[in-house]
Symmetry: C2
């Protein structure tokens, strides 16, 4: 059953989500301040007592839960008929089923980049998506240390900042607006974004070696690796899937290839990337990377390959260039071993 | 010949450098704004004409040169007797000699993370060090997108922000002040910072494979890699050696291991790291990593291993813990092939 919302309703949801992301981010920053001795005067006694009892990991876990509870409460009060899927509540359950249906659904990661947050490294964020008929139609990524929001409303565009909470609003992609063409010999010349992940088994079939072999193919000199060498211009690993995707939408990264993350990590980013003009499909190279169809990404597939927005050149459209880069990446990466029921 | 400056002179140099870093960063941000359509009203005609003639790489190269020229001019006017070594002027020369002597010397990278700057990824910075008797005694790293300064004055400490240009000043390390202990089974539990670099030869003796083998040793499960598996908690690659080091000083990263960068990339960071209580030595594992001495880093050695500030535990001092982590890292990394005359 297809659901429909009016333009005014979607605009309302977008504005609400934009504000909600910033308020959630504020709670994350309160947690930072508690840990760097910048606790505010209010209720200082409680803060000090709390710090004595809680270590850094406890504080982070509690903040994560607090933010999700706050976001859930705000959404439920404003939109009581909408469904809600949050990283914390989902992970505490026993099912790993893909639960997103056609119904109006919020999909939230209160804190992406948890390890970065624990270590006070600025690459963490709040991720809030609103999904209709299985498609993310509103996406908000708020990075509180930089006070930067990446957002999109389907059909309207994608932006950095909002011109309301901040002084300006910039269309995505940021880099070379109007959109810059992709390098003619890509992946050569590209910034490649990837993550090492948690699966570190030292076996050929384990995800670590599948990733390492793929990374090295992308990085090695042209002619190296039996012809697979891609000589990317740079390799970046931030420890946040959500921000990886935001930086692809901004045009800062050209290619993001990853497996193992979940829908709440990517739902907002997928909306923002698409509205910015980017392409996202599966990380899994098909049997024939040269000719097999480039399918729509499945939100819950846990396997993602994103290409940044790209302008037309004299010889190809931006989309043709993106598809070329997808195929060149597929030729160099290995299948990853992540799956899930119901996706 | 040893040089000596009074405390008041060093304080003056520190204040001057702190301000200079911010002013240089402002020029970098002007370059960003020119490229994202946020050019200021003044001289708009020239900006538009400039943009038509210059592509992104031209703008970046010009900005890099402009910032170095600005910093050189400011330093020369204020401290005409001091020597100056800048990344841009050095690189345009033919010598690769190590030129730092005992004389009062400024060592400046006007833009570290140039590729990130080109791509408008926030991990770029200005790096300014003042060196006396071969030792960096003042270090300033300014990251303009975050409006964040990391700085140190030898003997006084290291800080994030300054309480003058910004509302607060925080002592480094940020994480868990007083200093947090290093993990007992390090590198397990550590955040490992590393860069892929530009040398991508696909040969066993090339730096790419020496790095990849080292990265995989650090990342693989305990028991993997013939016992070398270090199971670090996370691997980060930012594309800026200077910021890698700043984040080690802040406590956000535990271990940074790198070869190939130069003194202007690390001079300010070394000062900040040491004042924060961190340790820096050579990336090169000695013949016996368990017992060989942990030597002082040579500024121009191009081979660096940094460990974050660490607190005492019940069983070891912070320094003992740092030395333990140096040795555990040395056991897992390979020698890199970078050299230079005169270092």
């Amino acid at each position: 059953m297809a659901f429909s919302l009016s333009d005014a309703e979607l605009q309302e949801i977008y504005s609400f989500a934009l504000d909600l992301g910033r308020r959630a981010g504020r709670i994350l920053m309160d947690g930072v301040e508690r840990r760097t001795g910048e606790a505010s005067g209010r209720d200082e006694k409680r803060d000090v007592a709390g710090e004595e009892k809680m270590n850094a990991v406890d504080i982070v876990t509690q903040t994560d839960l607090d933010v999700e509870a706050f976001v859930l409460k705000e959404i439920t009060e404003r939109f009581p008929s909408h469904k809600f899927i949050g990283e914390e509540t989902y992970s505490s359950g026993s099912s790993r089923e893909y639960l997103i249906t056609d119904e109006p659904t919020w999909c939230v990661d209160p804190l992406d980049g948890t390890v970065n947050y624990t270590h006070l490294f600025p690459m963490f964020c709040v991720s809030i998506a609103f999904i209709l008929n299985g498609i993310p139609v509103v996406g908000i990524i708020y990075q509180p240390v930089l006070d930067t929001t990446y957002s999109a409303l389907v059909g309207y565009g994608a932006w950095q900042d909002d011109g309301h909470h901040t002084k300006s609003r910039k269309s995505l992609p940021l880099v070379n607006n109007p959109k810059q063409v992709l390098p003619p010999n890509a992946p050569k010349g590209c910034i490649f974004s990837c993550e090492w992940g948690k699966d570190r088994r030292d076996t050929e079939g384990g995800n670590m070696w599948r990733k390492v072999n793929s990374f090295v193919n992308m990085a090695a000199e042209i002619g190296g690796r039996g012809g697979k060498g891609g000589m990317v211009h740079g390799v970046r690993s931030l420890g946040s899937a959500t921000l990886d995707l935001a930086y692809v939408a901004a045009g800062s990264f050209d290619i993001w290839w990853e497996g193992g993350c979940w829908e709440w990590d990517v739902a907002a980013g997928i909306c923002i990337l698409r509205e910015a003009g980017g392409l996202i499909t599966t990380a899994h190279p098909p049997p024939n990377p040269e000719t097999d169809p480039i399918e729509e990404v499945r939100l819950g597939s846990r396997l993602y390959l994103a290409i940044r927005p790209a302008g037309d050149s004299d010889t190809e459209t931006g989309q043709q260039a993106q598809e070329r880069v997808v195929r060149e990446t597929w030729k160099r990466v290995q299948k990853l071993d992540y799956s899930r029921p119901g996706a």
